[in-house]
């Protein structure tokens, strides 16, 4: 692909897949969570917010360790994996996705939560007085009004997942074609002093992430201008 050898191209492909799936999954998971955090009056909601933010603070080694247990035969991961005869979700692409989701979650939840909170109560009250059930009000009023926040969350989540290193290293097992993503491949290249390959991969990663983020930001600006 692109004239690059497969030990360079495959990690790139895996990384993009991982980041894309992580981002989409996060949008689905983080949006209801962010909605609840923005609107709930439960006394313990900031506790939940703190837990969600933990991955920012915890060192990847700690996070990776807990994930190993969670994904392994002693945890829920093992139970799920046993459905298809495997013992663990570690060393699988699915396991990587889960780890990536956990570690990128705070970057997605926060902007979406802020966007929902910024809407305030009024538009939803208006919707209610116009016969919109809470579900309809969410889809036709809250979500569209919060869409810039969702876009920001998606950009941040994607960028973070592309650059994710520590967690992937801890639970991936570095299996070529399955869990050897760009970060682990670069690590290998550095260890074997293949500087040129390491640079190519790392540099390419930076350029790609930059391009994605820039285009999303421009899109977001276009959105906002159209609305004003």
């Amino acid at each position: 692909m692109l004239g690059l050898p497969s030990d360079i191209w495959v990690p790139i492909q895996l990384t993009i897949e991982l980041a894309a799936i992580t981002t989409l999954s996060l949008l689905v998971v983080a949006t209801p969570l962010a909605w609840w955090l923005a609107r709930s009056r439960a006394a313990w909601k900031e506790g939940v917010a703190a837990i969600v933010s933990l991955p920012i603070v915890l060192p990847p080694t700690v996070l990776g360790f807990y994930l190993l247990i969670l994904l392994g035969p002693d945890g829920p991961g093992g139970a799920i994996a046993s459905l298809w005869g495997a013992r663990t979700l570690a060393f699988t692409f699915t396991g990587l996705v889960i780890g990536s989701i956990v570690s990128s979650m705070p970057f997605v939840v926060q902007p979406i939560r802020n966007a929902f909170a910024a809407i305030g109560d009024r538009p939803l009250e208006v919707a209610a007085t116009l016969r919109a059930s809470p579900r309809r009000a969410f889809w036709t009023v809250a979500l569209p009004l919060a869409s810039p926040g969702l876009l920001t969350g998606a950009v941040l989540g994607f960028a973070h997942a592309v650059g994710e290193f520590g967690v992937v290293l801890m639970i991936g097992g570095n299996i070529p074609g399955r869990t050897r993503v760009m970060s682990t491949a670069i690590f290998d290249f550095v260890e074997t002093m293949r500087w040129r390959d390491a640079n190519m991969l790392a540099g390419g990663m930076v350029v790609f992430a930059f391009a994605v983020i820039l285009s999303m930001i421009l899109l977001e600006k276009r959105f906002a201008r159209a609305r004003a």
């Binding site: 035969p73 002693d74 663990t88 570690a90 290293l169 097992g173 260890e191």
Partner: protein, 245 residues
């Protein structure tokens, strides 16, 4: 103001205590526990303080070649101390093997007391090793499997930890049913079953120590390396599961 003056005075006092000096030692992660015991004993016997830093030998090597202030390097392999000496960062004639790592097959899920048979039977989904690119134990594991003629059969099941510590973690959390770890890692561990891989199956994992350029004039550093060769240190090293020269 008063505080800085106090700290300065303290520093001067400590520095002037020429008798009890410090030496900064980079220690391969797998040698953590024995190193701590040896350092404590060293302090008792000589009054010098060995300040230990633990980590991956590869990372230490990179740091040392970029001017990190370590004075002694206890590596997990023999290549890096040699490379350091060749590069002029270490004194070649101080180089010696302080421990020989022993490769062990370990499992908390299946019985590997007869390791070769267990590997042949292949009744497991994942086999954990340290990344051969990064760790000598990983290279040794691959060597051993090849020597047994089982490498090709086992290769699809291999998962790599980026360090021997990680490889250990995969087996310890039972994500991998079996794995090649260092005997020293199993010190004090009673869980599971193990098989010491016969030395004939892999090249000895020599762990070499060397005096770095920065420590060339440090009495404490030289004293530490001497102590490391001595009987008390060797007893500790053996107890922790290493072989000796």
């Amino acid at each position: 103001m008063r505080l800085t003056a106090l700290v300065a005075a303290l520093g001067a006092f400590l520095a002037s205590s020429a008798e009890a000096a410090q030496t900064h030692i980079a220690v391969a992660a797998n040698f953590t526990e024995p190193a701590k015991e040896i350092a404590a004993l060293f302090n008792q016997k000589t009054g010098h303080e060995a300040v230990l830093s633990f980590g991956a030998s590869g990372a230490f090597f990179t740091q040392i070649t970029h001017g990190a202030p370590f004075e002694v390097f206890l590596s997990a392999d023999s290549e890096r101390p040699k490379a350091a000496a060749d590069g002029g960062f270490a004194l070649a004639d101080s180089l010696f093997t302080y421990a020989i790592g022993k490769l062990v097959l370990w499992s908390r899920v299946i019985d590997v007391t007869d390791g070769e048979a267990a590997l042949k039977a292949g009744q497991f989904q994942k086999l954990s090793i340290a990344n051969p690119v990064a760790a000598p134990y990983g290279t040794a594991a691959v060597e051993a499997m090849k020597a047994l003629g089982l490498y090709d059969a086992l290769q699809p099941k291999i998962v790599q930890g980026n360090s021997i510590a990680q490889a250990f973690q995969f087996v310890d959390t039972r994500n991998a049913e079996v794995g090649f770890v260092a005997l020293s890692q199993l010190y004090g561990v009673t869980a599971g079953t193990r098989w010491e891989v016969p030395q004939t199956l892999y090249s000895p994992i020599r762990q070499d120590a060397v005096l770095l350029k920065t420590g060339a004039d440090s009495e404490a550093s030289k004293a530490f390396l001497e102590f490391l060769k001595g009987p008390e240190a060797r007893a500790i090293i053996e107890r922790f599961g290493y072989a000796l020269n």
